[in-house]
């Protein structure tokens, strides 16, 4: 760990928002109880005094943001193709993390957990589609929000029963890379995670563009009725799309458990982040999804540093409100609204 970082942690009196390989983050209450003199201003001054620190936050943020892109893209896929907003998105991420954790505890290297989590979550997604989503697919979007909310509570609590409510993490044991003479520390697992995320996104892109089923998915997204007339089994397309989304989230979760932490209630922030990214990027626009995912990651790092770790979640949820209102206000100038 860089010497600068340790100095700063001493000066600030609490661990930085995201260490290369973090301990469980302080719970909001604990963080608030430890006395910190005027945190926001001193943190801001610290950033000005030590630009390396800002760079470190930026790098961390971009690397984490790359992982946010995966569930966001999955959400855009399901939303665009099926007209369903899946609130259980974050729970799929959480389950993927537990798959990797379970394998790790049985001696499998966590990186193998990524494909296994994807395959298992594909099955989970398929089941969820067959059990619930198929019955709400042609109903109002709000119904899908509520129903998937129910699914998310169910999965959350089931995970709580199965894996306990502890905050858990995996140390993949890949070490860290020191850049710029040790002032910037990057955990290698984050680089691996970004590479894995990029690979996954590329595979998905090629699948949607090239394969027969991918074409069917895109055709169904454009016009489900015409697709059905032309002999596409739209029910199978929907099931595959939803399962594929769950698989993407599962893979993301297997990465999250290695670069950050996991617990049964981690889901909703991921859902909200996904929604935010999709609202900013629009449906089916991959470059925009990547750009907004990365900037969200960076923004969160800076907010967590400036406001204190206990406000990082508050920042994510407040940002959602601000972004929606702002986007809508922009559209309102043309007498339109978000739809």
């Amino acid at each position: 760990m860089g010497a600068l970082r340790i100095c700063i942690e001493r000066a600030v009196g609490w661990p930085l928002a995201r260490c290369p390989h973090p301990d469980p983050p302080p719970l909001a209450g604990e963080g608030a109880l430890s006395a910190r003199p005027d945190p926001m201003l001193s943190n801001l001054l610290l950033l000005v005094d030590a630009p390396e620190l800002a760079l470190q936050l930026l790098v961390d943020g971009l690397l984490v943001g790359a992982v946010y892109c995966l569930p966001a893209y999955g959400m855009a896929l399901v939303w665009g193709v099926m007209n369903v907003i899946n609130v259980a998105q974050g729970e799929f991420v959480m389950l993927g993390g537990y798959v990797a954790l379970y394998l790790f505890m049985h001696g499998v290297h966590p990186l193998f957990g990524v494909p296994v989590a994807a395959v298992l979550l594909f099955a989970v997604g398929w089941l969820v589609y067959r059990a619930v989503i198929v019955r709400i697919i042609d109903r109002d979007l709000f119904v899908s929000i509520l129903a998937t909310f129910g699914i998310s509570i169910f999965l959350q609590q089931a995970a709580n029963q199965a894996f306990s409510a502890d905050v858990q993490s995996i140390d993949a044991g890949l070490g860290s890379t020191y850049l710029m003479g040790g002032t910037i520390v990057v955990a290698n697992i984050k680089l691996v995670a970004v590479a894995a995320a990029a690979l996954l996104a590329l595979a998905l892109y090629l699948f949607l563009k090239g394969s027969r089923l991918g074409q069917a998915i895109r055709a169904t997204a454009q016009n489900p009725r015409a697709a059905r007339i032309l002999g596409i089994d739209t029910d199978r397309v929907y099931a595959t799309t939803f399962a594929l989304n769950a698989a993407i989230c599962g893979a993301a979760g297997a990465l999250v458990v290695q670069i950050w932490v996991i617990h049964p209630y981690i889901g909703l922030p991921y859902t909200v982040r996904s929604f935010m990214i999709v609202v900013v990027a629009g449906l089916g626009n991959i470059p925009a999804v990547i750009a907004s995912g990365l900037s969200l990651g960076a923004a969160e790092q800076f907010a967590g540093f400036l406001l204190g770790a206990e406000y990082q979640a508050a920042f994510v949820f407040s940002l959602l409100v601000v972004i929606l209102v702002w986007r809508n206000a922009m559209l309102a100038r043309q007498r339109k609204y978000l739809r």
Binding site: L27, A28, G29, E30, G31, A32, L33, I85, V132, R135, I136, R139, L141, F142, V143, I145, L146, A147, F149, G150, I151, S152, I153, F154, L155, Q156, Q157, A158, N160, Q161, L268, V272, F275, V279, G308, E310, Y311, A313, A314, F317, S318, L320, V321, L324, V325, N328, A329, A332, Y337, L338, R339
Partner: protein, 339 residues
Amino acid sequence: MTDAGRGGVARTALVTVLLALAAAGPLLFPNYVTQLALLWVMVVLALTWDLIGGQMGYNSFGNIIFFGIGCYAAAVVQRAGFAPGYFAGLAVGAAIGAVVAAAAAIVLGAAILRLRGHYFAICTLGLGIAAGEIASGWDFVGAGAGMVPPVYPGEPAARGVFFYYYFAVLAAVCFLVLRWLYGTRFGLAINAIRDDEDKAEAMGLPTTAYKVAAWTVAALFLAVAGAGTGHLLGFIDPRQVAFAGETYGVWMVLMAILGGSGTLWGPVIGAALFHVTQELFWTYLLGFQRIALGLLIVLIVVFFPQGIIGWLRERWPQRFDRGEARPPVAATPAAGGGD
């Protein structure tokens, strides 16, 4: 009129019996007074949600913030000691909470109520959870450790009875105010917004003003309910009690849907049924109560979206399709007050 007259007698008898039961509640079930008091809270939550979600068509997950504002305002007033004594403090706290909540509804509503459909739903979900996260980081209100209102001056049993009547009266006032509102031009206006907002706007209705006004009414009742709930439970946790977006915030939606959203009696019936079911889950499925709740949410939304009142109307249209605010398609001149 004879049919209406006969129905009127039956209805009067039913209402009288219900009123008698409500008044005698603490005597009949002395061991369940706190639960019965919370039942009335649920009725208020469901009624005020239905004003926005059912009658106006704005499905909100964020109404809970007004409840939380009430909780905290009352506790802060008690702590500051503005008013002498427990009851005066509660009264002043509830009043201040109501004012603050109404102000918040006006400010937030002016921005957020311009969003429509599922964007509004997700935005309010973020709003409710952001409020909880901010409260759990804010030292002034005890941060994550929450706040403890003063102890009830008197026997513990008397506390339950006092708050039973507090909430029963609040629920009754809320019911009567909403019943009156739904019969006025205001009721017609918010129904028009639900049925086709663009047309309502084209007809010259100041839709935003109506929407904000409706949210403010809901906020007033929610804040008073929150003030009492904080005092009844004796502990205000930022995420589990005050801004419990994932529990109360979603339950109020479910209760209204279960009973029949967009009707006057639906939320009342739904709240009673849901509260009893949920308590039974806690009693008989301890450990799995939340899992059962998630399943229940999915079942209600997927298989019973019309709700109890909606089902009764389908089954016996002559008997139940009258006397309440209806979608304008079926409106008769006596839409507001059939009895």
